[in-house]
């Protein structure tokens, strides 16, 4: 059984404001309860597979010039700096 308090705590960590989104908790809970189906499958002999790529297959690590100033498309910037709210 998933604890609603736990969902609220995770939402806060994900920077989701639950004061406005309280109704989502029950729906998230329903989805998590459906995921319990994963407890019914035997995965004891399974390994997690991943795709691998060697370094020489990657694109060259080189500077690609860009002709526009991307920062100018932001709403809040001053010179070369992005403006952000104060950190406490």
């Amino acid at each position: 059984m998933v604890d609603e308090e736990e969902i609220i705590r995770v939402a806060k960590l994900m920077k989701i404001d639950l004061e406005d989104h309280g109704e989502h908790v029950s729906r998230v809970k329903k989805m998590l309860e459906y995921f319990d189906i994963l407890d019914q499958i035997d995965l004891s002999s399974e390994e997690i597979t991943s795709q691998q790529k060697s370094l020489n297959e990657l694109r060259k690590d080189e500077f690609i010039p860009y002709d526009k100033k991307l920062i100018e498309s932001l709403k809040n910037f001053r010179e070369h700096y992005v403006r952000a709210p104060k950190m406490n």
Binding site: I37, L38, I41, E46, A84, P85
Partner: protein
């Protein structure tokens, strides 16, 4: 002007001078004007479409080399970037986002002289199956405006079905190309993972999602894949397809091929009787085409939807962390806010489904929960890959209906998250395994479409198109009543 034509027929007609690119583009734009108020397939239109068309006409008349597309009109899902145009992902969060670069797929299309008509509607950030989660209102199904068009690429599918373009590019994470293709009676392709560059596709679940063509005919999808597939320096997950021409041999047929009918997808509880009946007829059609059909069981399938939502939510939680309203976002004064509370407040602009997926995406991989959810989901993925690889040792194709049900009315399923998730039941297997799959329009039953899904082994798109084309020749579908 007949707008209900294929890309290949259009190219033939433009070449023979039956009409100019400008004339066809103008007629298409007029059609959009006439029907899109009802259908709402588009979120924005390309203001320079007519000029683009004129330029291609001029190139033709001056004998310059023309790209393979000859100016056919194509719409693009609004999570794929084109320089200088709005790319909203159907979210209020990106309401005014102007893309600073063009995606590789659109570059390919523009280099080959396609005319972009505009950007199409989707569920916000491609999370959904009905377009009801678009922040700008849903797209309607051109076959019956009271019904959902499927999703998330619902705008793309509807734009093709309603003759508001000849083709579209969608993106498929768990069925987002094939499901709306099935619901709107168009062809939708989800190819081998890595075949098409994702550069310029706004990420939702990047280990799984792919861009895919949506067209009126199977041949058109093969044609479009020829143009957009291939390795890309800007996407390291792309793979070499050795410049295969997917149209070559497309009419070769499927005589002697072995087809596996996926038991779990054709006998599931959620399957409607109409879809079940259509599937039986499709199996008969495949047999009459000379293929042999046999049931195959993939026992992991009942766990795939949970695994899929676990993995994609995790990736969404990470990918969508960038929307903090500092780098991207909308006007919201930061005065008086502390850093974290500003970000949380600004993120209330996300719609309900995106909000929930972000919460889920934080929950399922977190310390204390990863073992129960995320790591298990990855193992389900591994198990499914082994199962499907063994199935493909025996079979050339695996088939099932694309969606377990036909299109339904707006509002009918939106309140139950589990019912909504299960609409993906037949499509997520291709995404989790990276195998190619295609949805072929098969039947119109009670005025609403049913599509059949064919899957093939990795990089067997050419064979996939052969089977899809063979099935298409067995169907005779009515024109859209719009």
């Amino acid at each position: 002007m007949n707008l209900n034509t294929s890309i290949l027929k259009y190219i033939e007609d433009v070449k023979s001078g039956k009409f100019t690119v400008e004339e066809f583009t103008a007629a298409t734009l007029q059609r959009i004007k006439d029907v899109d108020e009802d259908v709402h397939a588009y979120l924005s239109l390309n203001d320079s479409a007519i000029n683009d068309a004129k330029k291609i006409d001029q190139k033709m008349s001056s004998g310059e080399k023309i790209g393979q597309c000859y100016g056919f009109p194509i719409s693009i899902k609004d999570n794929i970037c084109i320089t200088g145009t709005k790319t909203t992902c159907a979210s209020k969060m990106l309401e005014n986002f102007i893309a600073p670069y063009t995606s590789t797929v659109v570059n390919h299309l523009q280099n080959e002289d396609a005319v972009i008509t505009g950007k199409t509607n989707l569920d916000e950030f491609a999370m959904g199956l009905t377009t009801e989660f678009s922040a700008y209102g849903p797209t309607k199904n051109p076959w019956n405006l009271d019904y959902v068009p499927g999703g998330s690429s619902g705008g793309s599918a509807a734009s093709v079905a309603a003759n508001e373009c000849l083709a579209s590019l969608g993106s498929d994470t768990g069925g987002s190309v094939r499901n709306p293709a099935s619901f709107c009676s168009v062809v939708g392709v989800n190819r081998t993972y890595g075949l098409i560059s994702r550069y310029g596709l706004i990420s939702y679940a990047n280990s799984i999602e792919q861009i895919g063509p949506m067209t009126k005919t199977v041949k058109d999808s093969a044609f479009l894949l020829n143009i957009i597939a291939g390795q890309d320096d800007n996407d390291d997950t792309t793979i070499d397809n050795s410049n295969v021409n997917y149209l070559d041999g497309i009419e070769n047929g499927i005589e002697g091929k072995k087809i596996g009918i996926i038991k779990e997808m054709t006998t599931s509880d959620g399957l409607s009787s109409e879809v079940s009946a259509a599937t039986k007829d499709a199996i008969n059609d495949f047999e009459s085409l000379g293929a042999s059909c046999e049931e195959v069981t993939l026992p992991t399938i009942p766990y795939t939807v949970a695994a899929y939502y676990t993995i994609t939510s995790t990736e969404a939680g990470s990918n969508l962390a960038r929307y903090d309203n500092i780098r991207y976002g909308y006007e919201m004064d930061s005065e008086g806010y502390e850093y974290n509370s500003y970000i949380s407040k600004s993120r209330t602009k996300f719609g309900p489904e995106v909000t929930r997926r972000i919460i889920l995406g934080g929950f399922v991989p977190s310390a204390g929960h990863a073992g129960k959810y995320f790591l298990k989901a990855l193992k389900v993925k591994s198990k499914l890959i082994s199962e499907i690889n063994s199935a493909f040792e025996k079979f050339d194709y695996l088939i099932a209906p694309t969606a377990p049900v036909q299109p339904f009315r707006f509002g009918e399923k939106i309140d139950d998250p589990v019912t909504l998730m299960l609409l993906d039941y037949n499509t997520v297997t291709a995404n989790l395994t990276g195998k190619p799959a295609i949805s072929v329009p098969y039947r119109i039953s009670n005025g609403l479409p049913i599509g059949m899904q064919i899957m093939a082994n990795s990089l067997q798109e050419k064979a996939l198109f052969q089977a899809a084309y063979a099935l298409e020749t067995k169907t005779k579908l009515p024109e859209v009543p719009l």
